[in-house]
Assembly symmetry: D3
């Protein structure tokens, strides 16, 4: 809930979570209730009974389509990039409708209710902490070539600062500004956890593992547009896909490092480009090294769990099952624990 | 190397590892050199130039086929279940040949060279430590039904003591007595490592995760015969496969626990039977819970890394690439680190 | 047609069958015509021009979605679990709409028109005959262990009486109360027919074949909820799927039979769990015995033909082709014979 | 066993069946024992220690490769197309070796031991009975066009007499002269059995079912060469495969029947060309009619069971498992019943 | 643009091409603008606010669904098979709506604006030129049997004149009257281009290549109905698919040519029936000859490029990407060149 | 045949071609006949009856394994990298054996018989002509950035001269020094041929097509080792595969060209990395542009036809069918034309 001047108002995730079968009754619809919605896009439509808007609205965790009705007294037009305070009604079959009462710019919103922005806009909240942890990981790399490579991209003066401003996917997982850094770091954490516990520990190259984990999705900095937080594919994203873009970014960085050993480059690039695990998922080569196996599985695990939590986050609290997940071709069981 | 009375003799793994391209010369074959070989099986063949034996020989890490020539002075017949001290020659194309000079029973071998047995017979060495760690994990389970279930199977007086005497697979990974316990425990360790690091930590049921990890392959206690350490499939293993056998073992144990909640049983069984991840790999249902996803990936990871080490263990030291792995449909890169 | 007090009224299947392209004209819609509809579910919606209902309605053979308009004079609200006498209009593109004139409970309906219930509610009509035939099959089993197992589950005092009250699938085939018994019996009939005609007759174990055929889908008694005849998946159904549930039910029954031979149990369970024929269809093991091959193919045949008839039953009489079948990824040709 | 003048001698199938693990000892090889072998082919090889032969030998049920040693006193050369009375030794690893003592032409063999030919040469024994049953099925077809079509191909004066002289496959099933007629008839029997038992009986076109069953593999008359019973693919067999050849044979026959209804032709051809069930198995269209579904499954069933019996026929009597079947990608369980 | 009496009016392809994001505004919808639309089908619907039509409308390159509103003054009903001059509005989300002002028969249309028909109706414009080029190709065939076969089907007095009146597919590519001839000829052109450039030129049979290219889709003359240019599948099309129909047409033609060499027929038919390249795409045999490989790839190339142009033709001019293509499971990049 | 001092001697390809079934008789083996063999590798083996060699021998078109017997009078040891004049015998089952009479260095061989080298060593003969044609193609590129890129790699002073010294594959096609240039050029020729004939000609970017065709396999310069003409995979070849290596080579070259437009780079790289057509064949993205579709199909065609000719080149002249091709999973039909 976001604290307003006089009352608390829910975000879309909260609306969907608290939406119990019991309440799904006609009574709900007569007295509309207000909530906060970030408006990702809004297009005016000339309907048979007058104009209305088709919008994508949501908060930091979810985005869905909504109609915005206009014309009633006190109801104003939605504006893309603004936060709408709006009455809403939601129906499982026909989805969401809103009537906007007031539009806030992000700054106005933050002024209205401090801290509310991180709940409403898909921007990661703890980016400074992520940066620090990544910096410490850079410094922990012992091989000087690998450390220099990583530093030249993600370090304080690194050439790839978009890394901290990119999403990790369009919708499936970590679809928020900073999601790429967040996902990459979590994969590195998992990989190091596995490394510490593994009977193969002495044979695993920790440096390659850390660097490959942090850079495995580096190509995603050019794969998605961040305009209006819509995370649409760029032309490059569609023509090259993030693995090929990643190779190009890495090659440009490697060229600049004198004496970067060819075998080391090859081992690192192998782990990075094989991280989808199988050719049919877009890796041009399958994993063949210990580091590549660990990376592929940790990447898979983090993507799955984050997607799981996205699905669970918008599931009604009294339901054990999420909606159908296209990623898993199944509904997921979140249980009632 | 195994210390003999007067000299040190290699095991098969050591022979294959030290087998460099440089040494692969005809000179090697004229003066046969002795080594120790566990004889898994031996069948006498009437060849066109007299009788000889076809054997499976090896040590605790590997087993390959060998011919055993007889008839020369001082050369005796190989005996299944014994350790042979034998001259050998090895050729990449035609494989291994041995001439047995002496046969040891396992007891005689241990008397001859203390501690040599664990290098020569595929029996895990640290089974007591595994038992202790598993016992501690049992005790860490807070849900009383799950703890009782786990204890009734793997605890001190548990009904499933074969768990500590079974291999985890025929050849691909953990193919040794105690391999099942070793693999199951390592999967539990990885799963707990992931659990501790996961942003989803609070939503994951640690008890189900631990119990499912330890019991995920429980059906393997009836899947492989341990006669002569050959780990052949049993009739049940072929007719039911380990997942179905596991369900039957679990059901028998659950029946005996009064009031075992049906939903809990269902959640646990779900995680266990979905651990192959996809229907085409033999799971009758795909993972749909957080615990199931973590288990499937940790199982996959441990199986892959153990298989990787098995392949690497018999690779010549100066080679970066293992032989072709049927599991990965590729040679694996162990590097030269 | 169901004989009413003054007139005969069609069921939904009959409406769809007699629905010729010729009649699909606007004239149809002005004078609504009454028919009988079982109301599986009904949810009230607040539309932009007043409230209406979204219902699932149908008869014993089919169920589709319908709108129920209210508000007109003489039109009442639909009630789940009741039979509606309702004017209807149907349009290929926009589907079915009804206006309910009268609601009957099942008892009232049977009083109104004897025998009409079996046409309107998805409940098999000849359950007593099925029971008798199954009982005779039980008695025909010569192996005492198998006969006792079968009798303990499906016999007169058997523990699994839900077998006679369950559907065999959610929608694809035999989706009606008693459908499980009906399908299982038909598979047994086909299997015995093949058995009698087969050159392999003397090598086939008739007892295993009969028992496996009757019990192959036994897990389905816990897979679908029969509330309101909606046949939704239960939690267990989604978490375990019917093959694993079946193993658990069988194991509980086998445990209670003293001296049940282990090999016999394994052979029986093999045939049952392999009946989907391939791993990718959810069997944890592929068929490896004669009985398993026959069972898998007879099961497949009965499911396909029943699905074919379900599709054909709602095809317009003058059309050779059914609607698109998702099961077969194609329209089906019923011809004009 | 085949009764010789003084003694009984086994065929190859009997040799392999009675070949128990117990007897697989060196003693077996010192005193060679005689048996009868049909010699499918024999090629002389100049080995490093003199010439010998590589042969394919067998009996009516099986064919395997063998070496034929020559040069010993009393040992003669094998001759393709003859039956050899030969001492033999068999070893699981190195296979079969024979020393031929006497060669019989088929006529001499039959004179030597009446009835022995059907055991030794892959020719079906009861071809006359098959012809009669097929003739009766032809006469049972009520549709005059279909009956005339069937009669014009398989009837007494039919144009396709090779139907009774062709195998149904190269090795997998019914690989003997007359196998095509035998398989086609058995599929028709199964299909009629299903037809009689089916709830869909009244909607199934029995005539199309019978004709399609008997003609579904008609293209195989041009697919395999029957020279020397080797059943090699012909050029046409490889370039067109039996389904396309079958279409051509049918089209030529249909052209000659005045007024053959186009729809009837299409329905018949549909059932025939879809009998492999899925595109990936070589059917250019998937089954879409009741008759096509029944035919595809009955064809599948007969091919599988016949293959099962071929595998079982050469399995040692005390073994529950056959050798690995490439058709099923598994060993098969014949049990010990 | 089609020149009318006073003004130029766009076709649907032009409407969709010039439809820029910028113009996609509500203002567009208030003043409807007229265009020409061929009406493929029109069905009257009784909507909740009065009757309207659901139509399929389009031009020679594209067909989409549209609503046709009636009831306004001056607005008339659409008629299938006629060209409508109609005001329209188009919305990315809700598609096309039209209000018909005038209906033309094709003849009236051509009288109204000469040459407009080829833009509006999916009929190829240059059929005479195609015929001439095909005739020259027929005459270029040196093998007399192949030339006679080709001539008997596609020559001046050929039996298969529907070849010039059939589409090559329902929607994906060359979906217009004459599309089959156009596609077949283009495949022949590509194949001859490859032939001339190939290092294998001397080993390729040019005659088989030409004949197979021109006849590879011959079965399509019976696969699609051309009624109302809807190109629906015929019964035969669904039951046999075009490859099997093609075999039947060829066999009938081959039967009539005395002495047609069997091997030649087999080689030709091989190339034709294998042209889908893989079993899973409906070819009953894979390519095994040089001619078959070239044909399969040239067919694939022409189908893909024609589909590409169809997609590009209705893409807005300022967009680099087409809509999602189901054929390629992706959007296509036409660039801005 | 290679003209020697007194006689003509065959190469291995000629031996296998002229090897008719008729001649495959024991008589062949008694009088060994001499031929020329390039020795790719030779390893001495200590056999049970004395030492011999396992060699890979062949000529410019084929390489197979052979035994080289030594010890006879006048027989010398084979030497890797030399041409052996050797008596040989060949047997379908046991393959090739040789007895070396004389060893030539390549220079000695050329002195012995001018021009023989190109028949014996897998080196393309017309590399100068290829270079000229490629140079002309470079000059034909109108876009200055693309021309400079191509020139900087393949031009006279280009950085990637290995392009003219590399094979295009290990065994399947163009497996000879210069094969990469030869294949790349032929793909460019085909692509330009298609371009000229295509109805899409005006929309295709000829420059991108030419450059992508010539560079599509550029990564292969680092994929295979050319030591001893064995064309083994390098470490980089296995770890990165040629598509990723190609991206790196291209990126390094693009970096050096000022102002290379980003979109142009993306379009070019798209065509190059998608040339395998589908993800499962190792392309990280599927083709989405006209140029990419044409390139993928022309590459496929040239690889297939070259492989076809390799198979045909070693097929006996009187046989219509090649040996089994692993690439096509079938034997190929070369016919008897």
């Amino acid at each position: 809930m976001i604290r307003g001047k006089q009352d608390d108002y829910p975000t879309l995730s909260e609306i969907l979570q608290s939406y119990s079968a019991l309440q799904n009754k006609v009574e709900n619809f007569v007295n509309m209730k207000p909530g906060f919605f970030f408006v990702f896009s809004a297009e005016k439509i000339e309907g048979s009974r007058g104009p209305y808007y088709i919008c994508t609205v949501g908060d930091s965790r979810i985005r869905i389509e909504s109609k915005a009705w206009i014309g009633d007294s006190g109801v104003i037009e939605p504006r893309a990039g603004h936060i709408a305070l709006a009455d809403y009604m939601h129906d499982e079959k026909y989805g969401l409708s809103i009537k906007v009462k007031r539009n806030f710019t992000p700054d106005e919103m933050e002024a209205y209710s401090a801290g509310s922005i991180t709940k409403l806009i898909p921007v990661i909240s703890n980016i400074a902490a992520l940066r620090s942890e990544i910096q410490r990981l850079i410094e922990s790399v012992k091989n000087e070539f690998l450390r220099e490579l990583l530093d030249s991209l993600l370090g304080k003066n690194g050439s790839c600062q978009e890394f901290f401003d990119s999403p990790a996917a369009k919708t499936y997982h970590h679809a928020l500004i900073g999601g790429l850094a967040s996902h990459s770091l979590q994969v590195a954490r998992y990989a190091l956890g596995i490394y510490e516990l593994s009977p193969s520990r002495d044979s695993i190259d920790r440096d390659i593992l850390v660097v490959a984990a942090l850079l495995h999705d580096i190509g995603k900095v050019k794969t998605y547009s961040t305009d209006d937080y819509a995370f649409e594919y760029t032309d490059r994203g569609q023509l090259e896909e993030h693995i090929a873009i990643g190779i190009r970014i890495l090659e440009r960085a490697i060229v600049k490092i004198d004496g970067f050993p060819e075998t080391l480059a090859s081992e690192l690039i192998h782990a990075i480009i094989s991280h989808h695990g199988e050719l049919q998922y877009g890796s041009p080569v399958t994993p063949k090294t210990r580091e590549a196996f660990i990376l592929a599985l940790c990447d898979n695990l983090d993507a799955r769990l984050d997607h799981f939590e996205s699905m669970a986050a918008v599931t009604q609290e009294d339901s054990s099952w999420t909606e159908y997940s296209r990623m898993f071709q199944s509904r997921l069981y979140k249980g009632n624990h």
